[in-house]
């Protein structure tokens, strides 16, 4: 009896507070921010991915908010650094979902961190846009998972398509033993047949090897050789390119998108002349013809990023830009942050132009890029030139 008496003022107070909250909620809903969560590998071995991604997200969320937000609501960005650790990525994803109650998640810099987050977002039913490379993220299609970066299989296909056009069918493959190299080698071997390409030699080199003349001498002696493809990343491809010229091999040399940066030309010097490789439009922003649908987007992103951070733009930051803008575009079309509606809107994205390419998503394709996302480049006079 006494207890209830004593509780009465407390319960009525609680009731008043509750009533105020309910009243207030109606007003607050209009200003309730759109919560965007992100897990990125800002530090650690994959920091070359996470660092530009973080910078890009922060810059554009700031800009969108300065312009009045999206559907009248401000954006609230929560970024956690997983340091490239899949276990941490899992914990932070959980936190984004349960504590921060985010509406959508953009991120997962690496395939490992992305795969760790997928079961959680699928269970919580939150739209998730990954920034990592592997085909496995979207194959088989998972209802709530999308991704923006092109895959190494597409790079292989782009290269093989170009070879077929030049009537080069007997191709030697040389690749490193690193993760990127191995994965691309496997994808290339898988799709070669589809383009009528015959792999006549398949050599490898170690990540820290200083001389590849032995492998290349062997390749040079392969009968009927018409072209060489080097799937690699880092200094290996540069040494391959130099050794290639040293040995006087004359058939065309193709490199992968893994070395698509000015750095490659600088290091390989004259030896790089004539080398072809597929690259994202972002790297050759200024070279694109004005008629190119992507030109305006990539030039603007490059200018904004380089002006703000005083460092060269990278395709990785571009993936984050695409992820954020896809979400913003979908929320605008959905007119709300209802998770199912936003997911459906993302899946119905059609003709969206990003830094990675023209995106056409569907129920069966959660990447939405075709081979036009890659541009075939050739090194001419110490600079990139668009093929055709």
């Amino acid at each position: 009896m006494g207890i209830i008496d004593r509780l009465r003022p407390a319960t009525s107070l609680a009731g008043m507070v509750f009533a105020l909250m309910v009243l207030g909620a109606g007003v607050a809903a209009a200003q309730e921010p759109i919560r965007i969560g992100s897990i990125l590998s800002v530090t650690g071995p994959a920091s070359f991915l996470g660092d530009p991604e973080q910078k890009t997200l922060e810059m554009y969320v700031e800009r969108l908010n300065a312009a009045g937000g999206v559907i009248g609501r401000k954006l609230q960005l929560t970024i956690y650094d997983d340091g490239g650790d899949a276990e941490k990525a899992r914990t932070f994803t959980k936190r984004l979902i349960e504590q921060d109650k985010v509406d959508v998640i953009v991120g997962g810099s690496t395939t490992g961190t992305t795969m760790a987050a997928i079961p959680l977002v699928e269970q919580a039913q939150i739209p998730f846009i990954s920034l990592a490379g592997a085909v496995g993220i979207i194959e088989p299609v998972k209802k709530w998972v999308f991704k923006t970066p092109h895959t190494d299989r597409m790079a292989c296909e782009k290269i093989f398509a170009d070879m077929r056009e030049r009537k080069l069918v007997k191709v030697a493959l040389i690749s490193g033993t690193g993760g990127f190299d191995k994965s691309m080698r496997a994808e290339c071997l898988k799709v070669a047949g589809r383009y009528g390409i015959e792999i006549v030699a398949d050599e490898t080199y170690g990540a820290a090897d200083s001389d590849m003349t032995a492998q290349l001498t062997k390749i040079k002696a392969t009968p009927g050789l018409q072209a060489v493809l080097n799937a690699g990343f880092g200094q290996g491809p540069v040494i391959v390119t130099r050794n290639y010229r040293q040995l006087g091999i004359t058939v065309p040399l193709y490199q992968s998108h893994g070395v698509a940066s000015k750095q490659f030309i600088k290091l390989a010097g004259d030896a790089a002349e004539g080398v072809r490789l597929p690259a994202a439009a972002l790297l050759v922003a200024e070279l694109l013809p004005d008629t190119d649908p992507q030109k305006a987007v990539v030039v603007a992103y490059k200018r904004d990023y380089e002006a703000r951070y005083k460092s060269d733009v990278s395709t990785f930051g571009g993936h984050a830009y695409d992820g954020l803008m896809l979400v913003v575009d979908a929320i605008k079309r959905a007119g709300s942050t209802d998770k199912a509606k936003v997911r459906d809107a993302i899946e119905n994205t059609h003709g969206y132009i990003g830094t990675g390419g023209v995106v056409n998503l569907s129920a069966t394709d959660h990447l939405g890029l075709d081979l036009s996302a890659f541009r075939m480049l050739e090194v001419k006079n110490g600079d990139w030139a668009l093929v055709k």
Partner: protein, 291 residues
């Protein structure tokens, strides 16, 4: 010999000469202190990185190389004075662990002082390959081979003829006796690290035009150089050269004639086989080979 196999040999000799230069650094410090210096690869990296950045900032190539070698020498002296020297009463295993720590520290510092990117240095005499019986060799490879030979000759003279060199050898044979006859072992330790660092840096600037250089390029080179030193006989200078060239040739021939995927495996299996028969290495001290 066909042009093809000659090319394998040429490639192998170039790589081998690089391993040999690194192996020499291991042997110098081992001779003077009994320590295996696992930061030897980092000296190579510091030489290459310093030269590359100094050259990129507009310094003339010979000056950049001289400064880089000097800078590495100073790092070597500091390592001896502040890390190894302070713990000189500890046993050899502790000192070896200290050098492992030092190598991690130097790699970390290199990431901060420079960056994580790959750097290049121009060749001493152009990129145009020299043709030799159908095989092609880069002029820079000839430089590497020539300098390796010159360095070995100078080291033999230094340890055979000069007071400091003899003092270093004496210390390695018997530290207490060396101290008793008036040799300052602290100076010997300093000199050995300084010399090894200079040698590593020379290797670094010579190979940077061929293999490029980044903050972590010393790791693998250090490991291969150590393997070469063991193969040739730790502490023996001709042994370091023989070990380096053998390892380089093994890798190249294995890649050319057998399988490029297993070239390291093949090279190391042969190395193990050699050490089973000759535990002291090809040209190592015969004492340990006595049956």
């Amino acid at each position: 010999m066909s042009a093809e196999s000659l090319q394998f040999v040429a490639g192998g000799l170039t790589t081998g000469a690089i391993y040999a230069l690194v192996a020499l650094g291991f042997s110098i410090i081992f001779n003077a202190s009994g320590v295996i210096n696992f930061a030897q690869g980092e000296f190579v990296m510091i030489g290459g990185m310093s030269a590359a950045t100094l050259f990129a900032s507009g310094m003339a190539l010979p000056v950049a190389i001289a400064c880089a070698v000097g800078a590495a020498g100073i790092v070597g002296l500091m390592l001896a004075k502040f890390a190894v020297g302070r713990a000189r009463r500890a046993d050899v295993v502790t000192l070896i662990i200290i050098t492992i720590g030092a190598s991690m520290l130097l790699r970390g510092l290199a990431q901060i002082v420079w960056d994580k990117r790959i750097h290049a240095l121009p060749s001493l005499s152009g990129h145009r390959p020299v043709e030799l019986f159908g095989a092609t060799i880069l002029p820079q490879s000839l430089w590497v081979l020539a300098v390796t030979i010159a360095v070995v000759a100078m080291l033999s003279w230094f340890f055979g003829q000069t007071r400091l060199g003899k003092a270093m050898l004496a210390t390695s044979y018997n530290r207490l006796a060396a101290e008793l006859v008036g040799i300052d072992v602290r100076i010997v330790l300093l000199a050995s690290f300084g010399l090894a660092a200079v040698l590593g840096a020379i290797a670094g600037v010579l190979i940077a035009p061929i293999t490029f250089v980044s903050y972590d390029s010393g790791v693998m080179l250090g490991l291969k150089g150590f393997a070469a030193a063991i193969l040739g006989g730790l502490g023996s200078f001709p042994g370091a050269v023989v070990g380096g060239l053998t390892l380089g040739l093994l890798e190249s021939l294995a890649a050319g004639y057998l399988s490029s995927a297993y070239k390291d495996v093949i090279a190391f299996v042969v190395m193990l086989a050699v050490l089973l028969v000759m535990p002291g290495g090809i040209l190592g001290a015969r004492t340990s080979a006595r049956v």
